[in-house]
């Protein structure tokens, strides 16, 4: 696809026209513009603030009110972004951290599923710890996300809403990924346990068969022992299974809660809400409506009885005061 870059021509014209205009005169202006020039390349405000500190004899004037005729290089207030941007950056950092932890978790899952000689308890603990960390990160991010909601209908609130939406989509995707990983891991784990358990069952069947071939007396004793052993083993299994199920239930609950909260914020792709022109229209109508409401409120407030009463009372006060003074003077 063809494009044409007109920036060079534009800059040429701009410079030519600049020299035609009133040239920059005062040295302070040129000094400030020199300093501003270094930071006009998108640097943070800190440089600008230090600029004003370096010139203590200059009264601190916000740079935006500089005479446009005198300023040459970007003396636009590259102002501090509003405070909520910090919140959004924090959430974005959390999301990034959660992503790296998920990669670690995937590795830990793979390791735990491999047949090993050890107990596997350490792997389990590692996995549990990672899962908890990630879930905590997600929960924390989601709580902070609620803080981004803004009231009011300014452009800034639109930006906030959109930032919130974008972060909500990221969080939702992450939580879904986590759930998928967990469920596949548990499925594979259960498969493995079943295989192991089959072996145990066969063992138990063999023992059962053998016990039937023994004498009756020995039968009872052996049977009791086998029974006890079987009971103990199945009890251990049940306990462990229950614990796993408990874990799953907990994580399902937590993540379901997160997803429910997030689904309100996330845009459904392919619907009308995902259309740019629909969002612009809505903004326009709500802004207009908001303006109408404000005007109406202003009018009613102006006409409001309260204002009338207040003014009447104040006038009465003054009148009374005047009368009092008159009384004092005359008598």
């Amino acid at each position: 696809m063809a494009t044409r870059n007109r920036t060079l021509i534009f800059r040429k014209y701009r410079d030519a026209l600049k020299s035609v205009r009133v040239p920059a005169s005062s040295s302070s202006a040129s000094a400030s513009s020199a300093v501003a020039g270094t930071s006009s390349g998108g640097g943070p405000v800190i440089e600008m603030v230090s600029a004003s500190l370096l010139h203590p004899n200059r009264s601190y004037a916000p740079l935006s009110t500089e005479d446009p005729g005198n300023s040459s290089k970007g003396a636009v207030t590259v102002g501090l972004p509003p405070a909520w941007v910090d919140v959004s950056e924090e959430i974005a950092a959390n999301v990034q951290r959660a992503r790296t932890k998920m990669a670690e978790l995937a590795k830990a899952h793979a390791k735990a599923l491999m047949p090993s000689f050890g107990d596997g308890k350490e792997d389990q603990r590692n996995i549990e710890a990672l899962t908890h960390e990630i879930t905590n990160l997600l929960k924390k991010s989601e709580k902070r996300l609620q803080q981004l909601s803004a009231a009011g209908r300014s452009e800034d609130s639109n930006v906030r809403k959109n930032v919130q939406r974008s972060l909500a989509t990221d969080l939702q995707n992450l939580s879904m990924e986590l759930r998928k990983k967990q469920s596949t891991y548990l499925k594979r784990l259960r498969q493995q346990k079943e295989e192991g358990q089959d072996g145990v069952d066969i063992e138990m069947n063999l023992n059962g068969n053998r016990s039937k071939a023994e004498d009756d007396d020995l039968d009872d004793m052996v049977f009791n022992e086998h029974q006890m052993a079987k009971l103990k083993r199945s009890e251990a299994f049940t306990v462990e299974r229950e614990r796993e199920i408990q874990q799953v239930v907990e994580s399902v609950n937590e993540l379901a809660q997160i997803m429910k909260d997030l689904s309100v914020l996330v845009i459904d792709q392919g619907t009308i809400v995902d259309r740019i022109d629909y969002n612009i229209q809505n903004v326009a109508t709500t802004v207009e409506e908001g303006l109408k409401q404000l005007q109406k409120a202003e009018r009613t407030q102006k006409q409001g009885g309260m204002v009338m009463c207040a003014t009447v009372l104040v006038i009465m006060c003054f009148v009374m005061l005047a009368l009092l003074i008159l009384k004092e003077i005359l008598f």
Partner: protein
């Protein structure tokens, strides 16, 4: 994919090199251009957190210097004025300006003059100046489309404006495709000739450097035709999904506005019909109404199965699976309700207006012969009380277009009957249509009854029988495409501009219909492209017509013609 991906590439390139939080500022035309190819969620992924129109952004004085502004505008004088005002009081940290077409030097001067604070970081021309509604169909969405019907003397400035917009759009299209075409136009149409000549001047003389692309063996072909060569297609009622929705309800920039229908839940009042985002729509947009009904029923059954399994949650695993699949489920639910609502609404309209009956006669008028039978059918329908006025008007128009010369007496009878039945639609409109698009004015053989070969072909088709009476009509465009495919586009009917001649068959053809395209024609183009004939067709027009819009254009043109003739 080619048109949609071209515009998407432009938007991607605009946003990719700029880091940090951005605000995207568009004008009323570029909003449509961007909205049909890019979604809000994709913008959010590119860190564009605010989208505004350029008129509304001038009203606010909030300074948001932590945002970088990306402007994408058409290079009109109003937009340049807006830009000048905004550059003299900059609100944002950086300004990146992109224009959808070529800027004049004076405009760059003006912008440079107002950029005293030097906030503009780049100024580029990105030629996305057309609305890519479908992969091979674009439109220019011109608001006053009717000017093409009027002679130049009536309103020369509006006509010049119309031509300029058309030339801009066509030029931008070829710049986006990086090709320079051979230009042919429809002989009998003055406006087609004018647009063709101005486009040739632009591409070969004024900006020949910009258009000087690497020559492939075969230059593409740009064919500019006039809507009035085929006035039948926009008047017909449609029975394939996309065309039918546009005809009965109306599609604007791939959105359908259902707010006039009562009792709809809030999220179904405006819906999106885009083949890119909706797989069901992509599979069914060219199917006829009966097949759509069956496919929708199948979709609803599938959905009900999923819904039932979601309700049957007994174990924890089922719960987990439900939570996993919930977003998919919700999306499916929304999609199903959208299509069911549309089809229900259309069935209702078909019932009310007795469109099955009307459309049968319409198709007969458009395709087959038999003047006597046609006259009888039209008279019966005119007498029928339950037919709406606009349908009666359309029937008389279709009859008049076909049997204009054959029996004037009967034609007058029909006019009188129409006038007596519907006070709103004066027969003068039909006569205006005949003056614009009558047999003498049309270039090609619309009904296939001018030369022996076409008559023979029609007879053969009649003998073979048709699959579906309601979709038997083939627009003139189809025959034009066939002639191009066989390399037999007559020079007499479609002369070339300049002395560039076409040897053999082109591999890419862009057909631009002055006055507007229809979804029926875009369907034929898509099906032709899918048949792998070796030629890729792209269709575009000044608007996308349905019968309501076409009639409105006729009325507007008639009104202006009448007032101007009364002045003169």
């Amino acid at each position: 994919m080619v048109l949609v991906s071209a515009v998407r590439d432009y938007v991607n390139r605009m946003l990719q090199d700029i880091s940090g939080m951005k605000v995207l500022i568009l004008d009323s035309q570029t909003v449509s251009i961007v909205s049909v190819v890019y979604s809000q969620s994709e913008l959010l992924q590119k860190e564009v957190f605010l989208v505004e129109l350029i008129d509304s952004i001038s009203k606010s004085k909030e300074s948001m210097s932590h945002l970088k502004a990306v402007y994408f505008l058409r290079p009109t004088s109003e937009n340049i004025q807006h830009m000048r005002r905004q550059l003299s009081n900059p609100r944002f940290g950086e300004y990146h300006l992109f224009f959808s077409n070529m800027l004049k030097d004076t405009q760059i001067h003006l912008l440079a003059d107002s950029d005293e604070q030097e906030v503009v970081q780049q100024l580029q021309e990105f030629y996305a100046d057309f609305i890519a509604v479908d992969p091979y169909h674009f439109t220019l969405n011109m608001p006053s489309n009717h000017h093409y019907m009027l002679p130049a003397v009536v309103d020369p400035s509006s006509l010049q404006h119309f031509c300029d917009r058309a030339v801009d759009g066509i030029g931008a299209l070829f710049l986006a495709l990086k090709r320079r075409p051979i230009i042919r136009y429809s002989r009998t149409s003055d406006i087609a000739k004018r647009i063709a000549q101005e486009t040739a001047k632009l591409m070969y003389q004024q900006e020949s450097g910009l258009f000087d692309f690497r020559r492939m063996e075969m230059s593409p072909l740009l064919l500019i035709v006039d809507r009035r060569d085929d006035p039948v297609t926009p008047l017909l009622n449609q029975w394939t999904y996309q065309a039918m929705v546009h005809e009965l309800i109306g599609i604007q920039d791939n959105k359908v506005d259902l707010r006039s229908i009562s009792n709809l839940p809030k999220d179904q009042q405006e819906v999106v019909l885009s083949s890119e985002q909706d797989a069901f729509f992509q599979a069914n947009m060219y199917e006829n109404f009966g097949d759509i009904g069956m496919n929708i029923k199948r979709m609803v059954d599938d959905f009900q199965q999923v819904a039932k399994s979601n309700q049957n949650i007994q174990t924890i695993e089922d719960m987990a699976k439900f939570v996993d699949n919930y977003p998919e489920y919700r999306k499916m639910h929304g999609n199903v309700s959208k299509h069911v609502t549309l089809v229900t609404e259309m069935s209702k309209i078909v019932e009310e207006r007795k469109l099955m009956l009307v459309s049968e006669t319409e198709q007969e008028l458009a395709c087959n012969g038999g003047q006597v039978a046609a006259f009888e059918a039209v008279t019966n329908l005119l007498n029928n009380e339950s037919i709406s006025d606009v349908d009666r008007l359309r029937l008389v128009m279709l009859y008049a277009l076909r049997y204009e010369k054959e029996s004037p007496v009967q034609l007058m009878q029909l006019f009188n009957k129409l006038a007596s039945r519907s006070a709103k639609y004066k027969p003068g409109l039909v006569q205006f249509l005949l003056k614009q698009a009558g047999v003498d004015k049309r270039t090609s053989d619309l009904y296939g009854n001018r030369d022996l070969l076409n008559i023979a072909r029609n007879m053969a088709r009649g003998l073979k029988g048709v699959e579906n009476v309601y979709t038997q009509h083939q627009p003139l465009l189809f025959q034009t495409m066939e002639s191009i495919t066989k390399g037999r586009l007559r020079d007499v009917d479609y002369p070339c501009v300049g002395n560039h001649f076409q040897q053999g068959r082109p591999q890419e053809v862009v057909v631009f219909i002055v006055g507007g395209t229809t979804y029926e024609e875009s369907r034929f183009v898509a099906l032709q492209n899918a048949s792998n004939s070796g030629i890729r067709f792209i269709l575009g027009g000044s608007a996308v017509l349905n019968s309501k819009r076409f009639l409105k254009d006729l009325e507007e043109a008639q009104r202006i013609a009448r007032t101007s003739s009364s002045v003169v």
